[in-house]
């Protein structure tokens, strides 16, 4: 069996999130190689994912980073003396 456009489009997220079997990945890849429409779809979803990732990182306040590290060193010291 070969994936048609409908099946290929339906699998886009599973493909991008590594949730497909090797067989399905092969089906999708084969279809994308010959279908501009589906390929654009996959590119778009992938692009949206990267936009989300980029947009959602926040530089933590300096003092938070320091507190976390200090905390770890304290716990570390606790282990050292255990």
């Amino acid at each position: 069996m070969t994936f048609d456009c409908q099946e290929t489009k339906r699998h886009v997220h599973e493909f991008l999130h590594n949730e497909l079997s090797a067989q399905e990945v092969a089906e999708v890849t084969a279809h994308l190689a010959n279908c501009d429409s589906c390929e654009t779809d996959y590119d778009l979803e992938n692009f949206v994912n990267h936009s989300i990732q980029d947009a959602c990182s926040e530089v933590p306040p300096q003092e938070l980073a320091e507190k976390v590290l200090e905390n770890i060193r304290k716990m570390q010291a606790g282990i050292d003396h255990a």
Binding site: C5, Q6, E7, K9, R10, V12, H13, E14, H17, N18, E19, L20, S21, A22, E24, C35, D36, S37, C38, T40, D41, D43, L44, E45, F47, V48, N49, S51, I52, Q53, D54, A55, C56, S57, E58, V59, P60, P61, L64, A65, K67, V68, L69, N71, I72, R73, M75, Q76, G78, I79, D80, A82
Partner: protein, 256 residues
């Protein structure tokens, strides 16, 4: 429909290169232990075997090099979930403290991001906001239009390239705002896209079936794209796409 979802679960056994769930679980359990006695709360001896060769100093260094760089992503998520910088900071501190305690159970080469975010999710759900979990369970996802494959085939090639162009110009604030307006889809989209958690882990965390994770991701992403395009037009980042004008090779007929 159900068989589609359940068959997904079985695929994973053969395809996923992530670590077995049991290991993630043990990390999770440890992450759940009370945060008050963190110092005595190191992993059980049997679980420590793997990294026991590391000196405590090496262990701390390894954690600093691998886990600490994820702080901007973890802090960003904590901020969106708590909507309050001070709560977000507490959540981030607790998460990294628990992660450090459970560090012996993290297997190098596996998905560190998903592992840390899982601790973040547990901490958030358990200690800070029981509501989040309840909310996640309330709505029942009804029929699955995405499974009919109609989702994106409705938009033509030309409008999709306009969408791509629009997305490229959108500021982060609009993307975050749109994400926060996804209702019950928000958490699944965040855990899949930002935390890069496997579907099975998301299902377990939110106590929903894997099929629901899939449908919420599909529908959430679809809704997000609609919102982003809407904002992009509204804010003048792009003009509303005209119905297929040039290079109509695929735009009208498509391949469906």
């Amino acid at each position: 429909m159900t068989s589609y979802a359940t068959s997904m679960v079985s695929y994973k056994k053969t395809t996923l290169n992530s670590k077995p769930m049991s290991e993630v679980n043990s990390a999770q359990n440890s992450a759940k232990s009370p945060q008050t006695n963190t110092q005595s709360n190191v992993a059980a001896p049997s679980e420590k075997a793997q990294k026991s060769k590391l000196t405590p100093a090496q262990r701390a260094l390894e954690f600093e090099q691998l886990a600490i760089p994820l702080m901007p992503q973890v802090y960003g998520m904590a901020l969106r979930w708590t909507k309050n910088p001070s709560d977000a900071e507490d959540l981030v501190q607790d998460t990294f403290a628990k992660a450090f305690n459970a560090w012996d159970q993290f297997e190098q080469g596996t998905n560190l991001k998903a592992w840390i975010f899982r601790i973040l999710t547990n901490t958030q759900i358990n200690s800070y906001n029981k509501k989040a979990k309840d909310q996640a369970k309330v709505s029942i996802d009804q029929f699955e239009d995405w499974q009919l494959g109609e989702a994106s085939s409705l938009t033509s090639m030309s409008s999709r390239s306009a969408e791509l162009e629009a997305l490229d110009r959108l500021p982060a604030d609009i993307i975050k705002k749109s994400l926060s307006e996804l209702g019950e889809f928000q958490q699944v989209v965040e855990l899949a896209v930002i935390a890069e958690m496997p579907y099975a882990t998301i299902a377990e965390e939110l106590q929903i079936p894997v099929g629901t994770v899939m449908s919420r991701l599909h529908r959430g992403k679809k809704k997000l794209r609609e919102k982003l395009l809407e904002y992009a037009i509204q804010e003048g980042y792009v003009t509303a796409p005209k119905p297929a004008a040039k290079s109509s090779k695929d735009s009208e007929t498509g391949s469906l």
